[in-house]
């Protein structure tokens, strides 16, 4: 079985060991020099060509088994997908070519950029030795070993390795210089087999200046010093594929984990206290995973490195992980904890599934991503609680559904498209060619699907299967394990379902077909009636298959009915688009209303049943309560049912559903229910926060009949403000004018901050934002609310708090921005003075002044992550757009320039992008393009493009002043020039598609016919050089390739077909 699977890959050799030796690193010149030695075992008889991956490298010489200066050729077609003088500007042809070129260098097709021709003398040796064997079996040919040594250098890399070199010469800046691997494109920094299914053992040797530390995959076996140079030697005994080889060099400070000696954390100079605080928990997920999988981590150690400007927040590698330095936080900051810990737990989960057990090809990307996320979420569930887990799960599902409906249906199986006409969207392509947005949502879907498999086969069996996979993989890591056993280190959807079916009697094929091989998710519309005569609930479920990204779902679904006598679950089978079910009811209508009602959680509660329909014993009904299916749900029941559900159901998902539904029922009862839930301290804090928002929503839709203060406001006063004398009530009502509240100390003052209860802190932080959304009859925010917010800011007192109030202050500023409305703004004056001093609403002007103060103050005394600055910039943008204050665009340029903290830059850039969307400003557009082209921070480039995709200046060739040939040209040349950064190129392609569609942009003149003919000829030419993947041709090709070069084989094939 194993050999068979090895043969699926058309590579003609097996890589058993690779040595990567970096002999010189220069930060000033931003270059690396080194050599690599690959130990290859040929699998075929006539082994005369070795194809390897290598990009943006200079190859100096190749040596095979002491045979020096072996002939090689280097051809990277992806550098220039279309030639400069090509007049076409349509994506269709571009994508076709890109896909072909990817296949042309795809290591799993046995291809590569670097072709090494084995000299005849060596080939003869091989033949001699093989003739001595009678068998021509593959097993015997493995006896011959080729040692291929390649000398290379890497200069000014665009991707693959990132050099962080500050401009100035201060001591700390010099100490902070570092470099690290940016992702899983190993071919960008050393010659290798850049495939996920070619694991090998590794020796990594790096020579650097004495002051630098080297962190690389594997175990540090030796460290020698010679003439002020230090040589680190790492050995990775657990086979890993080249993409998971990580490297980081710099003067890092380090901390060994206090609980587990195997874990070491590294950070840049000056951040050691943060590092100690942030990483103090890392042993927990490790122990948890090991206990869960009943298998130990196969790497001898684990290193976490925190660097600046990485391309993603968290990049896992074999036995190490690289994180963004922004994940570090001091013990005084509360909210950073959740995110940082999740990221670190995810990187650790990858040490089991992801880096250790890898995907066989990009088609199986979903499985590994899903498994890693699945393990992560199991840990976070344990660490942060079940409610948080379910909340995140629900959010993920909503994201997936929204993306499938609005953007593009997700098919998790990234199989190559059979015919080219199927390219209807840039994301319907091979795995390496997806946009980051698509991959992000696909990862969430992958997690949900893995969770579905877990539900389907049961947690215990799932763990047995994962344990089995780990055990199998472990045997491949043993010293004397045969090479062929290394195929156990990678899994595919097929092999996974095979393991499942052998260990259980269940077949997950149908599940995979529904969710993996096909795209879309179902939309269920349900309603019910109660038939008293027969005492049954008549439930009707419809599936809407007409909308985008929908897919009919056939299978079982759980319905949970809460009746007077308790909660009852029914499992129904969805068989058709419209299905009716009759669920027998277990309760009779009661006369005695005093009796307690049992809930699913086992609690018994008293309920106020006066509102209830006396004829019906149903309290509420839930469909698929445990998120077992990825579905969009629309369920109809009376507002009373929703209110009951919100108030008494203990499952937070149910409460969120009810809250969402109650937005449609603005009434006094709803108001009371929401007030009660907001008040109940045993409710999950996210529910209470959401409750505050819904309450505001209800208040706004009832603005005309609303009496009394908002329940949220009085709740806040009661809980977070000092309890007070009789003065307070009068003061609140009278202090509606600005001057009064400023001069007279209001009796109600917010208490000095105490954030020791994190749930209360979150509530205190978020509720002002919800309150600020309140609007009165005139659709403006009531002055009472604005005064309230200003008082909060004024009286904020943090000196006795052991936590930082940075996020609280930034949240208050966000609340101020929530109060802004454009109602009542009629002035179109261009006179700035007049506008600011007379026309502008006093409250708006007050907000403006406050923002400037906070923005300036944050510059003098920075808050954590400049979060106050970020909020202020957002408000400035809003003041510009909504209130019409003419903010100078230079302000945002100022914050977007390199040298500012990256989160601030990102916010400023996002604002600039939104300015383009609204104002169609050509200069700003140009500025953004320049950032995308030249900015040293790659992560920022990614994020800007992604934000542009969300807020494009125009869509699908709409008429717009920016929709002109210059824009087309600019974007097109960007796409062409990002040869080495695939992800940026993919994102740009997505942007191009959003703006111009797949065909030629309308603003360009159409091509004349002669050109078209010329182009067609050229395309034919391409299609002959690179053969399509149909099996017949492939098998022919496979045989032919070993006889001759690729191009010769293709031409032969072409001639025979003629």
């Amino acid at each position: 079985m194993e050999l068979e699977e090895l043969r699926q890959v058309t590579r003609s050799f097996v890589l058993s060991h690779q040595t990567l030796c970096i002999t010189g690193v220069s930060f000033d010149k931003r270059c690396l020099v080194g050599y690599t030695e690959l130990t290859l075992h040929p699998l075929v008889k006539n082994f005369n060509v070795i194809k390897l991956n290598a990009r943006q490298l200079t190859i100096y010489a190749v040596t095979i088994n002491d045979e020096r200066n072996v002939e090689f050729s280097y051809d990277d077609p992806n550098i220039q997908i279309l030639s400069d003088d090509d007049p076409r500007r349509d994506l269709t042809s571009f994508l076709k070519r890109q896909q072909r070129f990817f296949e042309y260098v795809d290591p799993d097709e046995g291809n590569g950029e670097l072709t090494i021709f084995i000299p005849l003398s060596l080939q003869q040796q091989e033949q001699n030795s093989s003739t001595t064997n009678d068998d021509n079996n593959n097993n015997n040919t493995t006896d011959i070993v080729y040692k291929v040594t390649i000398d290379f250098s890497l200069e000014h890399p665009e991707n693959g390795i990132h050099f962080f070199v500050p401009d100035d010469d201060a001591k700390l800046s010099r100490l902070s210089r570092h470099l690290f691997t940016t992702g899983h494109d190993a071919r960008l920094w050393f010659p290798c087999v850049d495939s996920y299914c070619e694991p090998s053992t590794w020796t990594i040797e790096v020579t650097v200046e004495e002051s630098l530390t080297v962190i690389a995959s594997g175990e540090l076996v030796e460290c020698t010093t010679n003439n002020e140079l230090k040589t680190y030697r790492f050995y990775l005994s657990t086979p890993a594929p080249a993409p998971f080889i990580g490297l980081a060099i710099g003067s890092f400070e380090s901390v060994v984990d206090s609980n587990t000696q195997e874990i070491t954390n590294y950070c840049l100079p000056g951040l050691l206290t943060l590092l100690t605080n942030t990483t103090s928990f890392v042993h927990e997920p490790l122990e948890y995973y090991e206990e869960l999988l009943n298998a130990s981590c196969q790497y001898p150690n684990y290193k976490q490195v925190f660097v600046t400007e990485p391309h993603a927040e968290c990049i896992p590698f074999a036995s190490m992980a690289i994180f963004n330095v922004n994940l570090l936080y001091p013990s005084t900051v509360i909210e950073a904890t959740w995110h940082s810990r999740t990221q670190m737990a995810f990187a650790l989960a990858n040490q089991f599934f992801g880096c250790f057990i890898t995907m066989r090809s990009w088609r199986d990307w979903w499985l590994l991503k899903g498994l890693a996320l699945y393990l992560t979420s199991l840990y976070t569930r344990r660490a942060f609680g079940n409610n948080e887990y379910r909340y995140n799960l629900n959010q993920d599902m909503l994201d997936v559904i929204r993306y499938e409906r609005e953007e593009n249906p997700i098919r998790l199986d990234f199989a190559p498209i059979k015919s080219e006409s199927d390219i209807t969207n840039v994301n319907n392509r091979r795995g390496t060619m997806m946009s980051s947005q698509y991959l992000e949502v696909a990862a969430k879907k992958a997690h949900l699907v893995v969770r579905m498999i877990d539900d389907f086969i049961g947690r215990e069996i799932m763990m047995q299967i994962l344990n089995k996979l780990m055990c199998l993989a472990t045997t491949a890591c043993l010293k004397d394990a045969p090479l062929s056993s290394r195929s156990r280190l990678h899994i595919s959807s097929k092999s996974f379902s095979r393991v499942v079916s052998t260990l259980t009697t269940k077949d997950i094929q149908a599940l995979l077909t529904q969710w993996v091989y096909e795209s879309g998710c179902p939309r269920l519309i349900g309603s019910f009636t109660f038939s008293r005569k027969r005492n049954v609930v008549e439930l009707e479920l419809k599936q809407d298959t007409t909308i985008k990204g929908s897919k009919k779902f056939l299978g079982s679904l759980v319905i949970r009915v809460q009746e007077l006598e308790g909660s009852f679950s029914h499992t129904i089978l969805l068989e058709d688009s419209v299905t009716k079910y009759e669920l027998t009811c277990h309760s009779k209508v009661r006369r005695n209303k005093k009796k307690k009602i049992p809930l699913i959680s086992g609690d018994e509660v008293d309920m106020d049943l006066n509102q209830m329909d006396p004829e019906c014993p149903i309290l509420w009904i839930r469909i698929d309560p445990d998120l077992k299916v990825i579905r969009e749900l629309q369920f109809e029941q009376a507002d009373y049912n929703w209110q009951c559900e919100l108030r008494y159901e203990r499952d937070i998902l149910s409460q969120f559903e009810a809250l969402e539904a109650l937005k449609r029922y603005p009434s006094q009862n709803t108001r009371e229910t929401l007030g009660t839930v907001l008040d109940s301290s045993n409710c999950f804090y996210r529910v209470r926060i959401e409750c505050a928002y819904v309450l505001t929503h209800i208040a706004n839709s009832m603005a005309n009949t609303w009496t009394g203060t908002l329940a949220t406001l009085s709740f806040f006063r009661r809980v977070f403000m000092s309890t007070n004398s009789t003065l307070s009530s009068t003061n609140v009502t009278t202090s509606s004018t600005n001057n009064l509240s400023l001069t007279v100390p209001s009796a109600n003052i917010v208490r000095i901050n105490d954030f020791s209860n994190s749930q209360m802190y979150m509530i205190q932080k978020t509720i002002p934002q919800a309150i600020a959304l309140q609007r009165n009859k005139d659709r403006v925010c009531p002055p009472e609310v604005i005064n309230f917010l200003f008082e909060l800011i004024h009286y904020n007192e943090n000196s006795k708090n052991r936590f930082s109030d940075a996020f609280y202050r930034s949240s208050l500023i966000d609340s101020l921005s929530n109060t802004l409305t454009n109602i009542g703004l009629t002035s179109t004056t261009t006179n700035v003075d007049l506008l600011l001093n007379h026309t502008l609403d006093t409250n708006t002007k007050r907000i403006f002044d406050e923002i400037l103060l906070q923005l300036n103050y944050d510059k003098i005394i920075p808050s954590y992550g400049f979060c106050v600055t970020c909020s202020c910039l957002r408000v400035l943008h809003k003041l510009n757009i909504i209130s019409g204050i003419p903010i100078d665009i230079n302000v945002f340029y100022e914050y977007a320039s390199y040298g500012m903290f990256d989160r601030v830059r990102l916010i400023a850039c996002e604002i600039l992008v939104e300015q383009i969307e609204i104002r169609m400003n050509q200069d700003v557009f140009e500025y953004i393009f320049n950032l995308i082209t030249n900015d040293p921070d790659y992560n920022l480039r990614h994020k800007i493009i992604q934000h542009l995709c969300h807020h494009p200046p125009f869509r699908q060739n709409q008429t717009c002043s920016l929709n002109n040939p210059i824009t087309v040209h600019r974007l097109w040349s960007l796409i062409k020039n990002f040869a080495y950064d695939n992800q940026i190129r993919n994102d740009l392609v997505e942007l191009y598609q959003i703006m111009f569609g797949l065909s030629r942009p309308n603003c360009l003149p159409s091509l004349n016919e002669t050109n078209e003919i010329l182009i067609k000829d050229e395309l034919d030419d391409v299609s002959d050089t690179i053969v399509d993947i149909d099996p017949e041709r492939l098998s022919y090709f496979r045989l032919a390739r070993y006889a001759d070069d690729t191009k010769a084989a293709a031409s032969k094939l072409a001639s025979t077909s003629k």
Binding site: P166, A170, L172, S173, V256, S258, Q261, L268, G270, L271, T273, T276, N277, T308, V325, N326, L328, P330, S331, T332, S722, N724, S725, A747, I749, H794, N798, S799, K800, N801, R802, S804, A806, N831, V832, L836, F848, L852, L853, N856, Y857, K859, I860, I861, P862, S863, Y864, G865, I885, P886, I887, D888, V891, E894, S897, G899, M900, F901, D902, R903
Partner: protein, 250 residues
């Protein structure tokens, strides 16, 4: 002990050092008889200990005692060495004091003229006071009443003052910085120069993450710093102890 013994300088020294030790343990005062008993006991114990040491020394056929002998004899006398270490490491800081005469602190008297003070009441005096005696002085000189500030009303005032001060500080700091640093106009003025809205110009830092991740806004409260230091110390301490046990096991 007799007075004759005090002539012996060793005894004087011994007596005094014991007194110091007792004082160290928190006694400021001790009765003489109890103290003498202490002296006797200590003397006996020390004598016993030295005898033991001497015996051990002789058994080992040495002429000078070594620490091991002392340790051994202490063990013989049922003294745990670890407890000695503990005593040495944790000197008692708390002191018992002899109950001293507490001086009663009287609340400060505030004098004020009450509403009852008027000319008519001044004339009025009890009948048992003969007429020839002089008049009572003005009531506000001898009627005392205690006044307390109304705390419930005071709290908002304190908070208000605090907040005002903080805001004023912020404002003046920003104003100062705006005057000393380069500034940037927020408003797109279209040529007009009436403008009060400025931002401090950013200083570009080569390592922007340092100021962002190590915020200064919390530094004013010392408690957090000490907490952090403590945790750091704890962690380093833990690593030390861990490595120590590891070595031991190996």
């Amino acid at each position: 002990m007799d007075n004759t013994n005090t002539d012996n300088p060793y005894d004087v020294l011994f007596e005094r050092s014991l007194a110091v030790i007792i004082r160290e343990y928190g006694f400021d005062n001790i009765e003489l008889s109890a103290y003498h008993q202490f002296l006797d006991i200590s003397n006996t114990i020390l004598r016993r200990l030295l005898l033991n040491v001497k015996n051990f020394m002789e058994i080992q056929s040495r002429t000078e005692p070594c620490p091991a002998d002392l340790a051994r004899s202490l063990q013989m006398m049922n003294v745990k060495l670890s407890s000695l270490q503990q005593t040495y490491n944790h000197p008692i800081k708390h002191r018992l004091r002899s109950p001293d005469r507490q001086t009663e602190t009287h609340p400060m008297k505030l004098f004020r003229v009450t509403s009852t003070t008027n000319n008519t009441s001044r004339k009025h005096r009890p009948i048992y006071i003969p007429d020839f005696l002089p008049e009572f002085p003005d009531p506000h000189t001898f009627i005392s009443s205690e006044t307390y500030a109304d705390l419930r009303k005071d709290y908002p005032r304190v908070r208000h003052l605090l907040a005002d001060q903080r805001r004023a500080l912020q404002r003046s700091l920003v104003k100062f910085k705006l005057q000393t640093n380069e500034k940037l106009s927020v408003i797109n003025t279209h040529g007009t120069n009436i403008n009060d809205y400025y931002l401090i110009k950013n200083t570009i830092s080569p390592l922007p993450y340092l100021s962002a991740l190590l915020p200064q806004d919390q530094m004013e409260s010392e408690s957090t710093e000490t907490i952090e230091d403590e945790t750091v110390a704890n962690i380093s301490h833990r690593t030390k102890s861990l490595s120590a046990t590891d070595d031991g096991e190996m």
